[in-house]
Structures are given as C-alpha cells and as structure tokens.
Symmetry: D2
Subunit: 222 residues, 4 copies
C-alpha cells in the first residue's frame, strides 16, 4: 500500500524535477534548450490537443510554444493542429483542448468562431469534463487579446469543460501567480512573439497537461 | 438669440413629452400603442441602422423593438436590416449603428462575426465617432447573452465608435438606471421574447437615437 | 486489480444514480424534495466552501441552493459562510471554493472585492489547483450578473484555480449543455429567486463537488 | 447665418490643427514636447475629470498622461484627482469622467470599487449622458488589465454614461484604429510605464475631451 502510494507519487516527482530544470534553463542565459521529457506514454496518457487559427504565423508560433510546454509533462501527448484541420475524432480523443486565436476587433475572428461553433453544434462533440486553456495574439496594448482569451474560456465552460491558465513563479522572490491565459502583443508597436510571451505559452501548455494528468490518474496508473 | 435658443430647445421638449407619453402608455394596462412621432426628418436627421442576425426570429423580434424605439425620437430615421444585407453605403450613411446577435456558446455566432469583421477589414468602413448600441438573445440564465453585448460594444469601440445602453426609470420610485445593452432570454426555461424584454429593446433604440440627435445638432439646426 | 478498479468506480456509479434520481425528482411535478445523500465522508472527503456576500438575502438564498447541490454528491462536504466570516483555515482546507456575489454597477461590490483581495494579498492563501465556481444575483435583464460571474472566475484563474460551471441536461430531448456559472435576476421586473434560478444554483454546487471528488480520488480511495 | 456656422466650425478647425501638430511632435524624434493649447476656456468649456487609484505610482503616471491629452484639446479643462479625493461637486460638474485603476486579481481593487460604488449609491450622483473613458495598469501579459478597462466601462454604461476609447493612427501607412481603453503593463517582466503606454494614455484623454467638446457644442457656442 505504501509502495503503491509511493509509486503513484513518482511521476509527480519527476514532473516537479523536470519543471525545475526547465525553469532554470529557461531563465538562464540563452543556452541550449532543455531536453523535453517524452516518457513514452502508455495507452492511458493524457492527450492534449493544441488547436489554433493563424494568418500571419504569430498565433502558430505561440501554439508551438504551448505544444512544447505540453511535452515537458511526462505522460502527456501533445497534438498540434490548425482548427480547420481538426476532426471529430481529434476532439473526442482529446483529454484537454487548448485553443489559440488572433484578435479581430477585440474578439475571435469570425472564420475561427464558425469552425468551433460547428464542433459543438454540427459535429455534436461532447466536451464534458475535458480540460481547457486559451491563448491569443493581437495588436495594441488594450486591443482585446484578453477578451479573446476570456471568450475562448467561456466557449469551453458553455461546453461543460473545466478551464485553467498558466502557472507562474519567481523563484528568487518566492512569488507564485496565475493568469487566465497567455497572449502576445504582435503590433503595431511591438511586432512578433517575444521570448517572454513564448514563455507564457509554454507555461500554459505545461499547466494544462499537468492538470489533465492529475484528472486522468484514477483511470490509468501506468 | 433667446428665441434661437428656445427654438433649439423645442425638439428636446417634444422628445421628453413623447417619452413621457410612451412610458405611461407602455407601463399602463395593455392599451393602444402610443402613436410614434415620425416628424418628417430633414436632410440633417439622425440615421440609425439596426442590423441583426437571426435564425429563429427572436433576435429579429428584438430588432423590431429597437427600431420602434428609434422611431419615437423626432428627427431620427430608423433602418432595419439583416447584417448580411447591409451595404457599405448603409454603414457609411448611418450616424448610429445598433447591432443585435443571438448567443452561440457565450459569444457572437461565427457567421455574424465574419460579416462584421468584413465591414471593417474588407469593406474598410470608417466608423469613427458613430454612436453604437448592442442587444442579444440567448438561452439560459447565465449563458452568455451579456458577453455578446459586451463583445459587440468592444467591436464598436475598436472601430472608434462611442457606445451607450438603454435608459431606464421607475417614475413611481423616482429611480433611474442604465444597462450596457438589452437582451432577451429565449430558452430553455423561458421561450420567446417577453413584453418586458421588448421594452428593453425599445429603450435601447430610443436612447441611441436621442444621443445621436444630440451629437448631430451642431451640424443641422433644422 | 479488477476488483480494485471496480471499487474505485463504485462512488461514481452511486453519484450517477443519485444525480438521476435527483433529476427526476427535480423535474417532476412539485413532489417531496429528494433526500440528500450525506454518505458520511471519510477524512479524504472533498471539502467545498460556498462563500457569499448578501445584503438583502437573495444571494444567500442562491448560496443555500449551491450548498444543497454540493450535498447531493457522496463524499463531498459543503460549508456555507459569508465572505466576511471566512478564515484563512477555511480557505486552506477547502478543496473547492464557490463564490457568490450581488451585482453593483455590473461588477462585484467593493465591499466583497476588498475581502477576497485580502484573502490572496494579505492572508497569502495559496489557491493553486483548488476547483472554483461562481454565481451572482442582480437587477435588470442585462445589468451585469454575467460580468460578475466572469469576474469571479477570472479572480480564481488569477489565483491558479481551475474553474467550471453548472451542468444542464434535458432528458426528454437528450440535450446537455453548460453555462459559465449560475445567476438570478432579482429585480426590478422579476423580484426574488425563482425555483428555476435555484435549480441553476443547485446544479453548480453539484458539478463543482463532483469534479472536486474526481480530482481528489487519486489521493484517497476511501 | 453662414458666418455663424463658420464661427461654430472654427474651434473644430483649431482642434484638428492642434492634433496634427501634436501628432507630428509626438511621433518625431525625441524633441521638445509640443506646447499645449490652453485656449482660455469660457464658461461653456468641457470639464474632464481624470480620477484614479494608485498605490505605487504607475496608475498615477498614466493619469498624468491622460490629463496631458485632455489639455491638448482647446476648450477642454482637465482636472486630476485621486478617487478618494473626488467630491460630489467634482462629479456633477464634470462633463466627462476618465477612470484609471490598477489590476488586483484581474479586476478593479476592492478599495477603488468601494469608492466608485458610493458615488452612485450613497452620493446619488447622476451620471446621465456624461462621457467616459477608462485606463488601467497591471502586471502580466494576460493578467486582467483589459478586464479592468471593460469593467470600468460597464460601470459607466450602468450609470447611463456614453463611453469611448483612444484614437490611433499611423500616418505613414494611412491606418486608423481604436481600442476600448488604455493600459500599461507594469510587471513582472516589464516594469513601469513606457513612452508608448503613456502615448495610449494621452490619446485616451485627447479623444474623450474632443468628443465631450462635440457634445457640449450645442449648449455653448463661445
């Protein structure tokens, strides 16, 4: 019994160590990126779908960061797709879905909203109890990037998912904090996706993958 | 000079009287609806475009209520159109735009967002300093009707419009209050658009028309 | 091994049955309320704190409904407190926190926001990975009740919680849906908390308790 | 008659010129700041109250930027106050109110919300038809700065104000755009208020002052 509990605690220990290593590597001088921890996932692995809409590549770059975050979590499988390429099977097999969107007039672009409307409405996907997270890109300092994140989260909550955001910590000061999602300002004053914004994406992927693992644990002990 | 000021105050007086009459008629027992005050508008009339998206008729019914509210304001012209039928000319000629939308997963449907995205993005309509208001319909008590209203207002603010909501007053208690927009709960527990919800639509139309008149006044004295 | 898996599945089975029974009882003709399932919780029970701010009793009534929902879930303990009476120990011991608030000018009242600001800022409570849900009451059809729910959820996400909303189903039509939270319109056109609004509160409590149990399962098998 | 219309158009001309000059000065190389255009306002001047809450000085710095923007508009008077120092008379005399707030857990701090709740609730200030705008400061890339801006705007709309945001243009590309409000990221990755963020504050003040002048014009011709 004690051994079993220990065994069950082991992946968490590994995860904590991996995060620590990742943190040090990430915050240090631009060194070699830390090796991900693929940890050949068994059939009970947590599947995390990262789906995004991107026209100019910024949201795609953030999506790649989210995927990298997912892959830091042992026992988590990350799948990266454009929303238009996502199938009903992709959605049904996913234990978690992280959505990324650019900002059109302070909200999700119509083209992307149409696709995700159809997931629930026409494809009749059942999202109940899947875990969700959201990220966005957008121009301007107050141009609606956050409203896009909130909108994606409300979409998920309306589809019976549970949602969370990235986990931040400042090891020097001993501070921890959270945010509802991740985003990058991509213009007009600060173009592209910065290293710090990519860090927010990575943290989002990592957090969602970790929570999904936690929720899956009762099913599969691996 | 004094006469000129009096003359300029006259439409406001008429408007106040019309509102009072409307209020009494509205809140009283189901009597004959108050006669609107068309007041043949001159070339300087305030043009208010009411544009909506509707699949099952609820949002259309609310839109009709908004239009009725616009028409209570002397010197205001109301135009009612489905968003898909709105032309660039309609948008450019409008002094005010009131948008109505159903709620799909706590937000504007993709089909409608695509249309209004294109107004700004592809049609390149300049909305600067136009007045805006918003209304929505949706199922559920907390299903996102308000998020749709907020989203429509943020769309307008991002397009450099100024926005307002309906004006309410309780003459018995001497209370006045406002709301960010108007909405109707259309299911699953309370189907259709109630008289009270329609009253919210009417107040929205009236308020936006009145403010638009106020902003137009410097141009045309009529 | 198979027996152990079966044993672990048993509480879920009980829960599903309880929900079904509850649903039938709830939706049927005004019959005797279903008996709650107290299920003397072991030391690993899911503790759900329902904390609210109420001046006129409406939010308190909704809070009681949420508590009733929590108590339908075997293995869940519900604690009901006014936010001002909540101690640091209450917060730290809670596996889930459901917050309820009236609406003051489309947002959380300053008096309540000050209290919950202090929980994180001055009391330094660590909310990481606790489950959260939100409900509100407010006057008007579009007066900000939803913005309060969204604001409470964003507070929780900023404090590293994961959040969810009530689960709805229409057994006749075979429909299921969700909402970001629960709310009641308490004036000026529809005073008090209706049975349907109370049902939303109950569903919120039940959903959060169920998810919390699911997340706690790996720790305690009972 | 024609002369009168010309006379009334004159302030607008002056305003447009001042804005153009300001823009060139602002966007050019770090030169001497452009001289404001005080234009000794007559009794019919547009009074713009800039009220803010600040603990560490960032929101105060933004408030100063907003005030500078107000003062670029001929015929506008800017008044700068902490929310706690604002009197009922300040609020009643103001034609426009621009509110600034830091971000506490993705929303207005309780201390500030309590003050502005009391303006409407206890002081019974009538905000009807006053013009409003909002700005915020906050840590994090997606930490709720925008939700604070939206919340302040919803507060205003609930109090029957009409609201707008800053006006942006890129003279090189011929682009114009808007945002719902202005904000500054003040940590943890990017401390303080940058020149670009201050530019957003200035544009907000200028836009609100200009719109307020436009609405006041029918009353006072100066």
């Amino acid at each position: 019994m004690a051994a079993s509990r220990l065994a069950r605690g082991f992946p968490i220990l590994v995860c904590v160590l991996a995060v620590s290593v990742a943190w040090v590597a990430w915050c240090g001088p631009p060194a070699a990126p830390p090796a991900p921890a693929p940890a050949s996932p068994g059939p009970k692995a947590a599947r995390v779908l990262v789906a995004y809409h991107s026209r100019r590549g910024n949201t795609e770059k953030m999506a790649q960061g989210v995927l990298d975050g997912v892959r830091r979590v042992p026992g988590a499988i990350g799948i990266l797709k454009k929303v238009g390429d996502v199938t009903k099977e992709d959605l049904e097999q996913a234990d978690a879905i992280i959505l990324g969107s650019p900002t059109y007039y302070a909200n999700i672009p119509g083209a992307m909203k149409t696709v995700i409307d159809d997931w629930a409405w026409k494809m009749k996907v059942d999202f109940t109890d899947k875990v969700g997270g959201a990220f966005s890109t957008g121009g301007g300092q107050t141009g609606g990037k956050e409203h896009v994140v909130t909108s994606l989260l409300l979409y998920m909550l309306s589809n019976r998912m549970l949602v969370a955001g990235p986990f931040y910590e400042d090891l020097d000061k001993g501070d921890i904090w959270g945010e509802p999602g991740s985003s990058a300002m991509t213009g007009p004053l600060d173009f592209g996706v910065s290293q710090q914004e990519l860090d927010g994406a990575l943290r989002l992927g990592e957090r969602i993958a970790r929570l999904t693992r936690k929720l899956k644990a009762p099913e599969g002990k691996e």
